[in-house]
């Protein structure tokens, strides 16, 4: 869904750029809270992971294949701020170095996929987690729902930009139907693979899934209950 140059007119592109910069500012501050002084290397490596995982094709049906967008996945694994930041960094690098997505459309792309996709995906994830029982299955199911909703939400944001500043007069209704239809399908794939990935990380390193922190049991200090019995024993010895 990388929007190219010339698709959205310049004023709306610039406005989207301002929104994206403001959103990234918030994400940077939030990411520092989530990762403290480890922000640069960890966010960088997670971004590299998102970049790699987007190249991981999975078969869909009839010979077609899809790939993961990874926004909701990153948010559930490392937290929403870092997740959005990592997706944005991936988009900037793709646009600037790999010619994937237009430079003038960078603001539109970052707002759609990084900010709206991650925020909606993560909020839905938290809501579902709160409703479901506090088990691993609950987190996995919530990941699926979050990822499923995130993809058409990002597509919807694109349609909003198109409605305001689209350069063609394909009716907004047609674009809306096409975009949402296609992205509901993509969302199903995203949901399945996000849930399974979160599940597999939960099984091996549950401490690395930020969205499952509430499942972690706090370590408690247990002292042996022996002294009580010892005192009792002492008194009986005296009687004898």
């Amino acid at each position: 869904m990388h929007v190219p140059d010339g698709f959205i007119d310049p004023p709306v592109s610039i406005a989207a750029g301002v929104v994206a910069v403001a959103g990234l500012g918030v994400c940077l501050r939030g990411a520092r809270r989530e990762l403290d002084e480890r922000t640069a290397p960890l966010a960088g490596l997670v971004a590299a992971f998102v970049f790699a995982v987007q190249m991981l094709n999975f078969p869909v049906a009839a010979g077609t294949s899809g790939h993961l967008l990874g926004g909701a996945l990153a948010a559930i694994l490392v937290g929403p701020y870092t997740g959005a930041l990592c997706v944005a960094v991936v988009l900037i690098v793709q646009g600037l170095f790999f010619a994937d997505g237009g430079l003038t459309a960078l603001g539109v792309n970052v707002t759609d996929m990084s900010i709206v996709g991650v925020v909606v995906g993560y909020v839905v994830f938290r809501l579902v987690v709160a409703v479901l029982p506090k088990t691993r299955f609950g987190v996995v199911a919530a990941s699926a729902v979050g990822a499923f909703v995130a993809v058409p939400a990002a597509a919807l944001m694109f349609v909003v930009f198109y409605a305001v500043g689209g350069t063609s007069d394909v009716p907004v209704g047609t674009v809306l139907t096409a975009m949402i239809g296609v992205h509901l399908l993509i969302g199903v794939g995203e949901a399945v693979i996000t849930a399974m990935t979160v599940g597999s990380v939960l099984a091996v390193r549950p401490d690395l899934v930020r969205g499952a922190r509430h499942l972690q049991k706090r370590l408690e200090l247990r002292t042996p209950a022996a002294p009580v019995g010892a005192a009792h024993h002492g008194s009986t010895a005296q009687e004898a």
Binding site: L96, F98, S168
Partner: protein, 253 residues
């Protein structure tokens, strides 16, 4: 990590374009693309002139045309999308080879194709004449927040490492007889993604510790050199020529 560190997108040469500072090339690229996008779509000649300008840059930088054409494949999805526009748009229609097409849709398709193609070529030329690490230094020189530059640096630096790790996992899967043909392959792919995440995250932790032991305090000293006025003039000649074309196109409209 033994062999050359230059990224595969970069095409080293000793041309005047390669010698320009990365920050001046970044500014020139972004300005040029914005000028292209602001040009009225009816001014077909203007887009031809932009293409000639870019061809000139490619010639000076000695970037062979086949390389640019091969990398342009990245925009194929949009070509397919643009092809649909004349069928979906409203308004006055014309018959072309027996197909009823919208005039506005044809213009819109041309608009996206021309502007997206010029944008893609511009990015390709930037990446081919500037090393990725130099571009990151350029971004920092242009006052992108340092933490952002650091994250991008780590992403670019370890992107290939993580990509290779994923490739080794694929080879391991396939050497055990795995074939990802249908939906039943999904759990295997997802487990690979999970393992890849754990490996990436743990690598990040190790990288951080390695940096701490080398005295990292959260900032990396500013690198690169300031751009001279002459370099700015050379680099900005491209967007300036484009802007002149764009203004002429608006006046003649």
């Amino acid at each position: 990590m033994g062999a050359g560190h230059a990224h595969r997108l970069y095409r080293p040469a000793a041309s005047p374009v390669h010698r320009l500072s990365p920050q001046s090339k970044l500014v020139a690229t972004v300005l040029f693309v914005f000028v292209v996008v602001s040009t009225p779509r009816e001014a077909v000649w203007a887009f031809g002139l932009y293409a000639v300008l870019l061809a000139g840059v490619a010639a000076v930088a000695r970037i062979p045309a086949p390389l640019v054409l091969r990398r342009m494949l990245v925009e194929v999805p949009f070509v397919l999308f643009a092809v649909l526009m004349p069928f979906l748009s409203q308004g006055e229609r014309v018959d072309v080879l027996g197909l009823s097409l919208s005039v506005n849709g044809l213009w819109a398709a041309w608009n996206v194709l021309a502007k997206a193609t010029l944008g893609v070529v511009c990015s390709i030329l930037l990446a081919a004449t500037t090393d990725l690490r130099a571009l990151l230094v350029g971004l920092e020189r242009l006052h992108m927040p340092q933490i952002m530059v650091q994250i991008m640096t780590f992403m670019v630096r370890y992107g290939d490492v993580i990509g290779d790790e994923m490739d080794r996992m694929r080879i391991a899967r396939e050497s055990r007889g795995f074939q990802g043909r249908d939906v039943r392959a999904l759990p295997v792919v997802a487990r690979s993604a999970g393992a890849l995440f754990i490996r990436s995250y743990e690598r990040g932790e190790r990288v951080h510790l390695a940096m701490l032991s080398r005295g990292y305090t959260g900032t990396i000293p500013l690198r690169g050199e300031a751009t001279t006025a002459a370099q700015w003039r050379t680099a900005l000649a491209l967007p300036a020529a484009a802007l002149l074309t764009c203004i002429t196109a608006w006046v003649l409209r």
